[in-house]
């Protein structure tokens, strides 16, 4: 019933609109005008609307910052994240004025130079000097951003040297959960392969490999000691997933058939972050960030960052295979 009403309503609207258009055309003709010629008034109105739009646009931009600025991620929970955040802020401070000023010029020029039959437009076809200016200026700014970014990137993507103090954790992704495997004191992970998956051994660890003797399997929630570098290796059992640790400014795809890596140093405990965000229920989180199937939207694991003592207690309770 509803459908029929909607269809009839649509047909009526279309017919009405057609008749109105026909009327408008005839009206213009009777005044000796062509309906498709813009009148001065209409044209100036559009120019004004463009200028007003600019202010509304900027107002919207500012309103969003005020309304939602505090909902973006809190301060970095990793050491390298501080550098990344600095570069992010710097880039935002550069692009925001560019965004505002170029849009301002665009809409201001549109308003100011609306058609006036008494005026002639300026025949100004080229200027090599100007082209130089706005080729070189962006190039210089970009060079700075590139150099800072690459420097940052090199530090972040270098794996932790085996001799350095660190914890080694393997994260295995599968549809639709994560399994963490702590390498233990020997800082070596036992060999693993999909063909060894059986029952409780959900990630295919080779229990005969001596290195897997002290490996601990952890699901649901995993812990990290604050201030200690953690080296992650990532695997996937089925499709591409992505290990996203937004608070730690870290992310790395988990690719079946390939082992990927990432590392960071957690710099704030969960308690600290609960204070900072004023939220007793806050938890660090690992989530999947590469489309992986129907339940992609619910593939997560909590992360607790705590003192070395608390971490040691927790680790002692975890079981191996």
């Amino acid at each position: 019933m509803m459908t029929i009403i909607v269809v009839i309503a649509v047909i009526l609207v279309v017919i009405t609109a057609s008749q109105l258009l026909k009327l408008a055309e005839l009206r213009a003709k009777s005044k000796g005008e062509l309906i498709y010629e813009l009148t001065q008034k209409e044209n100036k109105m559009q120019g004004l609307l463009l200028l007003l739009f600019f202010f509304a646009f900027m107002g919207f931009f500012v309103w969003q910052i005020v309304a939602w600025g505090d909902r973006i991620l809190p301060v970095s929970a990793s050491e390298h994240g501080e550098d990344t955040d600095f570069l992010m802020s710097l880039t935002l401070y550069i692009i925001t004025p560019v965004f505002i000023i170029t849009n301002a010029l665009l809409f201001w020029f549109s308003y100011k130079y609306a058609y006036d039959p008494k005026r002639k437009a300026l025949f100004f076809s080229h200027s090599n000097k100007l082209e130089m200016v706005w080729t070189i200026a962006p190039a210089l700014v970009l060079t700075v951003l590139i150099l800072m970014g690459l420097n940052n990137w090199n530090k972040i993507t270098t794996p932790i040297a085996q001799e350095e103090e660190h914890i080694l954790i393997e994260l295995t992704a599968m549809q639709f959960n994560w399994t963490a495997r702590y390498a233990g004191e020997d800082k070596k992970l036992g060999r693993s392969h999909v063909t060894l998956i059986e029952g409780v051994n959900g990630t295919g660890v080779d229990t005969l490999d001596p290195s897997s003797k002290d490996d601990k399997i952890v699901k649901g929630e995993f812990h990290l000691p604050v201030g200690v570098p953690v080296q992650f290796v990532f695997r996937s059992l089925d499709v591409i997933h992505s290990a996203f640790f937004p608070h730690f400014r870290s992310q790395m795809n988990c690719v079946p058939g390939v082992v990927t890596q990432f590392n960071f140093v957690p710099s704030r405990t969960t308690e600290e972050m609960r204070d900072i965000t004023n939220n007793e229920d806050f938890n660090y989180i690992l989530l999947c960030n590469k489309i992986c199937g129907a339940a992609h939207y619910n593939m997560q694991m909590d992360i607790i960052v705590e003192s070395q003592e608390d971490y040691d207690i927790w680790l002692a309770e975890q079981k191996g295979l």
């Binding site: 939602w68 020029f109 082209e131 990137w153 059992l237 591409i240 079946p256 489309i291 939207y297």
Partner: protein
């Protein structure tokens, strides 16, 4: 050279299997818009789910059937919708619909040719596009549903039906459809390149070509060099899915068993896909930029500022677009050094883009502007190109990409810089060349209404997404209600969805205006915008061969608007000088430096 034999009034060959570039342009336009409308409905549907997660919409179940049981969208069907939305919009609307329409309409008319180099290949190009569209739509109705692995269809998700149902028959049809689509695109592009190089009229040197032609030319070159790589990627995926090969698959345990495939890598697919995927965004963008140059110049009554710089920057963008694809893959685990190389090249591509923006701004400066809907949309394009472009400096910088990769920040970025810019360019082209397409004028009032609703609501949809991204919200999530950390952002979703519905309604105004004006609009004069380019010297009525008698000869570049003599008066008394007007005694051609 097409023949001029007298055609019998054969409906089939005049309207259906036409080899006339003008008819083919209209065919691309209609099919492109119809597909675009499907893509638009899809986005409205999934925005309903995102704005009001888990809410029951019984009216929608009427036509969505099992995809929306009890009125609530199923999670894997959500993924089908976002996949098909992306595929349809990028390829069917903004590649075939945009390039197919305007390259076909304008190339012969603006260079002074009777038709494309090969009318038959041109016709085939359209019909392959039509067939691929039908197959793509059919894929919505097969068992398991349409492809659901994202428009980027990374294996193994896209290779294994047990990973998601849409990777069964739906994915197979997707691959068939895209293979045919690629054929259509390649045939079309070859035709455009050959025609532009070989069939320009007397006096039409390369540096007297309008910037639309340069844009279509470079776009076609990009297509010819990059689409075959996607075809290769698709073929290898077909082999992995159906013939037991392991190009992309290795060490997989799924559905309780270890699969037989070893030795492959999904990252190979990503390289092959993005080797097309990145040039593809410029294939989408360049025609829109070319159209904008033409519209802004003729409607401000000024030469486009920096004609040669515009050509140079388009060439730089085209060249650089081949060496930046890795910026889609910073976090795949590929060698970090590669990541650095791609950051370098990616940030470089910002330079010619900036040059183009500044040139547009300078063209507007001290102009005398007429705000037809085409002008409005072109100005809108410059705004979205700036707004979307600057966030590229964050995404292209590998260290910064780590935290925004695959979040809503990316969705905001590419929708604004590519989606909005390209569709605005397409709208500008339709409004501006409507007289040439249909011999009638489209209504300005409805057109400006369409513009205002569209620009306000589309910025309303996509700008907030940057904040969501900076808050860590991932893309392609059916709902955010599983994450306490995203709870305080669900209201932003609601706002976005409201704007999305408004945008959708705005497009209905356009569709009405388009259809009404194509049949009942006031008849168009030959040169309604008083523009210089050759297409406005060809009669309003359509016939094979474009000009009665000889093809006009060209004596100057297309941008002599408001050219004045020493006394400050317009040379020849008008504020425009068509390309067919010979140069005066001491007059220098503006294209010469």
């Amino acid at each position: 050279m097409s023949t001029h034999q007298h055609h019998t009034k054969d409906f089939l060959f005049t309207y259906v299997f036409s080899t006339d570039h003008k008819m083919i342009a209209k065919q691309f336009l209609i099919t492109g818009f119809l597909m675009g409308f499907v893509g638009l409905i899809m986005s409205t549907l999934f925005r309903l789910q995102l704005g009001w997660p888990g809410q029951s919409f019984e009216m929608i179940e009427l036509f969505m059937g099992s995809w929306q049981e009890d009125g609530v969208m199923a999670p894997d069907k959500y993924l089908s919708l976002v996949t098909m939305h992306g595929t349809i919009m990028v390829f069917f609307l903004l590649t075939a619909g945009l390039s197919g329409t305007f390259s076909n309409l304008l190339i012969p008319l603006q260079i002074g040719a009777r038709d494309m180099a090969s009318g038959v290949l041109n016709m085939l190009s359209y019909w392959f596009f039509f067939i691929s569209s039908v197959i793509m739509l059919c894929s919505l109705f097969v068992e398991g549903g349409a492809a659901s692995a994202g428009w980027t269809i990374y294996p193994p998700l896209s290779a294994l039906p047990q990973a998601i149902p849409g990777s069964g028959a739906g994915m197979t049809l997707w691959l068939i459809s895209m293979s045919i689509f690629i054929m259509s695109s390649l045939i079309g592009s070859l035709n455009y390149i050959v025609t532009i190089l070989n069939m320009r009229t007397k006096g039409m040197s390369m540096t007297r070509l309008p910037l639309t032609i340069w844009a279509f030319f470079l776009t076609a070159i990009l297509g010819v060099l990059s689409f075959p790589v996607l075809l290769a990627a698709a073929l290898l995926l077909v082999f992995d899915r159906s013939f037991g090969t392991s190009f992309y698959l290795s060490d997989i345990y799924i559905g309780g068993q270890v699969l037989d495939h070893t030795g492959g890598s999904p990252i190979l697919f990503e390289h092959l896909f993005w080797f097309l995927g990145h040039p593809e965004v410029y294939i989408v963008l360049l025609p829109a930029l070319g159209i904008t140059s033409e519209v802004i110049s003729s409607m401000t009554r000024k030469p486009i500022f920096g004609y040669r710089a515009m050509i140079g920057s388009m060439m730089a963008i085209a060249f650089l677009s081949f060496i930046v694809w890795g910026h889609h893959m910073f976090l795949t685990g590929m060698n970090p050094f590669l990541g650095s190389v791609f950051t370098f090249t990616t940030l470089l591509i910002a330079i010619p883009s900036a040059v183009k923006v500044f040139n547009y701004l300078t063209t507007l400066w001290k102009g005398n502007i007429k705000f037809t809907p085409a002008t409005l949309f072109s100005i809108g394009l410059v705004s979205t190109f700036i707004t979307g472009g600057v966030t590229g400096l964050i995404l292209g910088n590998n260290a910064l990409d780590i935290n925004v990769h695959d979040t809503y920040f990316v969705i905001g970025h590419f929708h604004i810089v590519m989606g909005l810019s390209a569709i605005f360019g397409m709208f500008a082209g339709v409004y501006h060349w409507f007289p040439k397409l249909f011999g009638r004028m489209i209504n300005n009032k409805l057109g400006s209404m369409h513009f205002w609703i569209t620009i306000v609501s589309s910025y309303g949809v996509f700008f907030p997404m940057h904040f969501l991204g900076l808050a860590g919200v991932p893309r392609r999530y059916y709902t955010w209600s599983e994450f306490p950390m995203f709870e305080n952002m669900i209201d932003i979703n609601e706002l976005i969805s409201v704007f999305a519905i408004a945008a959708m309604i705005g497009q209905l105004i356009f569709f009405f205006n388009f259809v009404y004006s194509a049949f009942r609009g006031p008849k168009a004069p030959m040169n309604p915008w008083k523009a210089n380019t050759l297409e406005w010297t060809s009669p309003v009525e359509h016939f094979h061969g474009n000009w009665y008698g000889e093809i006009p000869e060209v004596y100057r570049w297309p941008y002599d608007y408001s050219k004045v003599d020493k006394n400050g008066d317009f040379i020849y008394g008008e504020d425009f000088i068509p390309q067919t007007t010979p140069l005066g005694e001491n007059e220098k051609d503006g294209g010469a430096h």
